[in-house]
């Protein structure tokens, strides 16, 4: 049984290689960026009062913490943004590609139900891609902390306390995991919609998926003079998971200082608030409806 589902998920990795190529590419770019920056900074030696992740004699503990937290948030943000786009394209392609390359009848000649197939794709978007993203985030941090440690050590600093000991890494990684997973669930109505369009579209799924998102608010504005759709659907940007959405407040007025209680990103997360937000559950129901529709379309459609 486990093998059965593992094989379905493995198929997604083989077919949609961007799922793992994207994180590797981002990680490489970030690392190259950090390397360039370190070389640049070391060229200025002591004049520059911003040792990125801190040579001992320049940055204070607090500044170093702020820099590391900034780096952490920045890289995570890049990953989340990229993986968000990736998830959208993946969902739109996942049930469309097998019809386009006419392999759908081969897949359907095997003992796998249409529900299992569609759900394996939903799970890939909802769980697997977020996990890959978090692994990418963690790997990027580790690689870059190692690179920075070598740099710090070469300046005579103690990388163990200066770099590895200055921010709660495990807390932050746990936070990244929760945010990524919660983000995917929060966006699940879009995931469901894209899967449905992917199963339904005869051609141009991308256009078909985005058209209503632009056309409906326009029509609503003209005929009803309201903006309910725009507010509920497009206004779904903010993830109701944080105690405060004000990230600027995390850093104290004097730049590159981060107050003690916010050093752990885990402290910003409010899971109860997230789980008690009604629109989260409304979104999950919408996702379920679209996924059910996608299963029915794959099952009943006969266009081979």
């Amino acid at each position: 049984m486990i093998n059965h589902y593992a094989a379905l998920i493995k198929r997604e990795f083989w077919e949609h290689r961007s799922i793992w190529i994207t994180p590797v590419a981002i990680s490489t770019i970030v690392t190259l960026g950090v390397l360039t920056m370190l070389m640049f900074v070391s060229g200025f030696a002591k004049e520059l009062d911003l040792a990125i992740f801190g040579a001992q004699n320049i940055a204070s503990d607090n500044e170093r913490q702020a820099a590391l937290t900034g780096f952490f948030l920045g890289t995570s943000w890049v990953f989340l943004l990229a993986l968000g786009f990736l998830t959208g394209f993946y969902c739109l392609d996942s049930l469309y590609a097998e019809r386009k390359d006419k392999s759908i009848l081969f897949w359907r000649s095997l003992p796998v139900t249409d529900a299992e197939t569609v759900i394996s794709k939903l799970m890939t978007a909802l769980v697997v891609i977020p996990i890959v993203a978090v692994l990418g985030i963690i790997a990027t941090h580790i690689i870059n902390l190692i690179v920075t440690s070598i740099w710090v050590a070469s300046k005579g600093g103690n990388a163990g306390t200066l770099i590895w000991g200055s921010v709660p890494l495990l807390d932050n990684w746990a936070a990244a995991f929760i945010v990524t997973l919660a983000g995917a669930v929060w966006m699940s109505p879009f995931i469901g919609w894209f899967l449905f369009i992917s199963a339904y579209a005869k051609r141009m799924p991308l256009l078909l998926a985005f058209m209503p998102i632009f056309v409906i608010p326009m029509l609503e504005g003209i005929f009803l003079r309201s903006s309910v759709f725009a507010e509920t659907v497009l206004g779904r940007g903010g993830l109701p998971l944080f105690r405060s959405m004000d990230f600027d407040a995390m850093f104290e007025e004097e730049q590159w200082r981060v107050s003690e209680d916010v050093a752990s990103l885990l402290n910003h997360i409010d899971i109860v608030k997230f789980l008690t937000t009604p629109s989260l559950w409304a979104g999950i129901i919408v996702c379920g409806l679209f996924v059910t529709a996608a299963i029915y379309v794959r099952r009943y459609r006969d266009d081979s």
Partner: protein, 285 residues
């Protein structure tokens, strides 16, 4: 009961068109049934109904399952190759074997690897790098490594050259078929398969024109090639079809016993192709 497929009053409509029109038949275990019909006769639709790929009206049971509603259970015991069921181009040979091995309870990895050794298909190649013939060899090897009760082949050799086609059917008969298995096959190249078949079914406009075993066929149908007076007498016995060949008349009779034709001309068993053409013409009158 030994009947694997049991259809009673099966119909499938596309709008106003009845692709399959109130069809009833049975397929018994250990048979090789050829389903033969012109383009648009409803063959593929009927096969899809049998495979649970499309919904239909009427009672249809395959291996005791309702194919459309129990497709997963059915697919554990059925295999099919359709000319339209192409293998995904992006997949590697080793990946497709891994996948089928994990998904299919009746699949033998050892068997498929043994079969692939006899071909030029390498396990690290991608499907898109293989020729059409090799892709079919791969697909057939996978199918033959699955211990299935019913094998459905829909135009399996379309687009393949004659060497591959011969090999395909030879493999099928020698390495796959036994009395525990049943094969349902459709093709346009009737001559190639008529010697393999144990049973034959003609379908036209969604209706079954003929459903018979090959043995019964040679008892029921007689082809007489005659000229002059012989032809005249034979014609009096009511042929269902008549064609001219080398100045002689070739007539096809249904249900007229052979002794009536003694001395009238050359008596032969009609080919399935000739019979098919005659039946279709008869139906279109």
């Amino acid at each position: 009961m030994t009947s694997l497929v049991n259809a009673r009053g099966v119909s499938k409509k596309f709008g106003a068109v009845r692709a399959v029109d109130n069809v009833s038949f049975e397929i018994e275990k250990g048979k090789i049934l050829g389903l033969i019909g012109p383009n648009g006769a409803g063959k593929t639709t009927l096969l899809k109904a049998v495979l649970g790929l499309t919904d239909c009206e009427g009672d249809l049971s395959v291996l005791g399952f309702d194919p459309f509603r129990q497709r997963k259970q059915l697919m554990q015991n059925i295999c099919f190759i359709a000319d339209v069921a192409v293998l995904p181009r992006w997949i590697k040979v080793s990946q497709i074997l891994d996948y089928v091995e994990a998904i299919h309870p009746n699949f033998s990895r050892a068997r498929v690897e043994e079969l692939l050794l006899q071909t030029n298909v390498r396990s690290n190649a991608k499907v898109k790098e293989l020729s059409k013939g090799m892709v079919t060899q791969l697909h057939l090897s996978i199918i033959m490594a699955i211990d299935a009760k019913l094998l459905v082949l829909d135009e399996p050799t379309l687009g393949l050259d004659i060497l591959f086609r011969k090999e395909f059917y030879a493999n099928l008969l020698n390495d796959y078929f036994d009395e525990e298995r049943t094969i349902l096959i459709t093709t346009h190249q009737v001559e190639e398969i008529e010697n393999l078949l144990t049973d034959v079914m003609f379908i036209n406009d969604g209706k079954i024109l003929l459903d018979s075993s090959m043995d019964a066929l040679s008892d029921t149908y007689v082809e007489v090639m005659a000229s002059g007076e012989g032809a005249q007498k034979a014609r009096g016995l009511g042929p269902i079809a008549e064609t001219e060949m080398f100045g002689k008349s070739v007539m096809l009779f249904e249900g007229v016993s052979r002794e009536h034709f003694e001395g009238l001309g050359e008596i032969r068993i009609p080919s399935v192709t000739d019979l098919f053409v005659a039946k279709i013409k008869e139906a279109r009158k």
